[in-house]
């Protein structure tokens, strides 16, 4: 998960995993996010890592980006803040899949 200091990410008694467990994600077979990690190696900001509210992006030791797509809010933050053309592609998940908000 996050690379911040130990204890970070655990706010007011709720771990990030518990927080995400409150959301209904109907995971599809196709990854709707793809990352070209070669492009990410030259990225100095890696804004997606901290800005993604679902914490889906993790920096790897070799400077790349490891991504998840399963627990995605489909907000679009990642591709909006990405400053490297072509590093990140983002589409909607297949119909009927992805996040389902019950209390939006």
């Amino acid at each position: 998960m996050s690379t911040t200091a130990p204890g970070a990410g655990r706010w007011d008694g709720i771990s990030f995993e518990e927080r995400m467990a409150t959301v209904d994600f109907r995971v599809g077979a196709r990854a709707h996010i793809t990352v070209d990690t070669d492009v990410c190696r030259s990225c100095t900001t890696k804004a997606c890592v901290t800005a993604c509210p679902a914490d889906l992006f993790a920096p790897t030791a070799d400077g790349g980006i490891l991504f998840n797509y399963e627990e995605c809010f489909e907000c679009g933050t990642c591709y909006m803040v990405c400053n490297s053309e072509g590093a990140l592609t983002w589409t909607y998940p297949d119909g009927g899949h992805g996040v389902v908000f019950h209390h939006g």
Binding site: W11, R19, T50, P53, F73, Y92, G95
Partner: protein
């Protein structure tokens, strides 16, 4: 459907419509409703399993726009609470200053604003459209536009078998990320500076506790807008009451959030721990966490709203009004969607679905609140998100109130002007700037 076979077809059902509406949120449902009422064959394409599944909002649905569209809407709408208290709070880490307004007038028909859950509200509105004869196709993504030889939009491709839905007009109500508006070249691919990120927690709280803590009863609710709760990132917070839960969240500028390296949920945690907020939420447990983008650029960043065979409405057209004192989106989506539906009907009647034939859409929006409000408040986003308003004024006003109301015996009370000058200097604001911003605010909001 007699004679249905296992390959899922019942013979060649024509996939031709008068209009395809993409997205069954408030904009799309209203557009489909207008078209269905005009007797048009309209299909409403929704990518979620039900309308509202993908939608998150930050507070209040203002129902005045529904008066003409669904008369007597308040008797049937799925409501959580009717807003009777509206509070604007400015805060620093240890202080808060609220302007709190309450009125009985908002607590009875025809009401002013309400809190609701989008999966209920959006489904209700889409139900109005299907009752009027619109077809609702859920769990289906409109993956792209279909164009004819002249480049006019004549339909959408879907992710079901790659099959297409054809119609002379496509109304894209596919939300803030609108890939259809982007494909049509109406919307920039990724313009972070025109967007804010909203993150929200819905917290379980018994109705009795809500009534006591927020000083309301029965179906009355409270809406609190908060400034100064987002650290150094431009933005704001909100807190409002549902029937048996409260929603709390922050809305922050996307590029500044990315530059700050702060995790979004940390900002909510800050807000929830604030001494003015924490007692309201004591013992509440998390029911659902959510995040969504908001188009907050306002009038000046709004895309062209029509192309040949294509209209855009709602968040896809950046219709959310984020002007400090007013934060409205759902009503703008309904207003723009219904107008798009009626403009499409007129264009179909005239047989001209080009951008020029659909131009009555924009004229209609300019004539009513949707674009009139946006135009009048076009400078508001830049003022509200300016550094002084974000970083200095909440603290300045809180310190001013503290200076005014702290009893300093035996030292005599400070004069108001002297106090203002001292406090302003402490916050690095010149009185001239304060006066200038006040004037600017009066011009924008007055």
């Amino acid at each position: 459907m007699s004679g249905t076979t296992t390959n899922g077809t019942t013979g060649p059902e024509p996939l031709e419509f008068d209009a395809v509406v993409v997205g069954a949120g408030p904009a799309g449902a209203s557009a489909a409703l207008a078209l269905a009422r005009a007797g048009r064959r309209v299909v409403l394409v929704e990518r979620g399993p039900f309308p509202g599944a993908k939608n998150v909002y930050g507070g209040v649905v203002y129902g005045r726009v529904l008066d003409d569209i669904v008369p007597g809407w308040w008797d049937e709408v799925p409501v959580e609470r009717w807003i009777v208290r509206r509070s604007t709070m400015m805060m620093t880490g240890t202080q808060s200053l609220s302007v709190d307004f309450r009125t009985d007038a908002w607590g009875s028909a025809p009401y002013n604003g309400m809190t609701t859950l989008r999966c209920h509200f959006d489904a209700w509105l889409a139900g109005k459209a299907t009752d009027a004869g619109a077809r609702l196709l859920t769990s289906t993504v409109a993956t792209g536009l279909v164009r004819d030889g002249d480049g006019r939009v004549v339909g959408v491709r879907t992710d079901r078998d790659g099959a297409e839905l054809h119609a002379p007009v496509v109304i894209a109500c596919d939300g803030v990320n609108s890939f259809l508006a982007k494909e049509a070249g109406l919307l920039a691919r990724a313009e972070a500076s025109h967007h804010t990120l909203g993150v929200k927690e819905v917290l379980d709280l018994p109705p009795g506790a809500i009534n006591e803590r927020f000083a309301v009863q029965d179906h009355e609710g409270v809406d609190v807008e908060i400034l100064g709760c987002t650290r150094e990132i431009p933005g704001g917070g909100f807190l409002y009451t549902n029937a048996d839960s409260v929603s709390i969240g922050v809305v922050v500028s996307l590029p500044e959030l990315a530059a700050s390296g702060v995790r979004p949920e940390a900002l909510i945690a800050d807000l929830k721990a604030h001494p003015s907020i924490a007692p309201l939420l004591r013992g509440a447990s998390l029911r659902e966490y959510a995040a969504h983008l908001i188009p907050e650029g306002g009038y000046d960043t709004m895309p062209a709203l029509a192309a040949d065979g294509l209209l855009i409405a709602g968040d896809a057209g950046a219709m959310t009004l984020a002007a400090g004192l007013w934060l409205e989106g759902v009503n703008f989506a309904i207003g723009s969607g219904y107008a798009a539906g009626r403009a499409t009907d007129r264009a179909l009647s005239r047989g001209d679905c080009s951008a020029a034939g659909l131009a009555s859409y924009r004229a209609d929006l300019e004539a009513q609140f949707v674009l009139a409000d946006h135009k009048r408040l076009r400078k508001a986003p830049s003022l509200v998100l300016s550094e002084r308003v974000q970083q200095h004024y909440p603290g300045l006003l809180c310190d001013l109130a503290e200076g005014m109301f702290t009893v300093t015996n035996p030292t005599p009370k400070p004069g108001g002007l002297k106090l203002t000058r001292t406090v302003a200097a402490r916050h690095g604001v010149k009185l001239r700037q304060l006066a200038g911003d006040t004037l600017r605010g009066l011009r924008i909001f007055g």
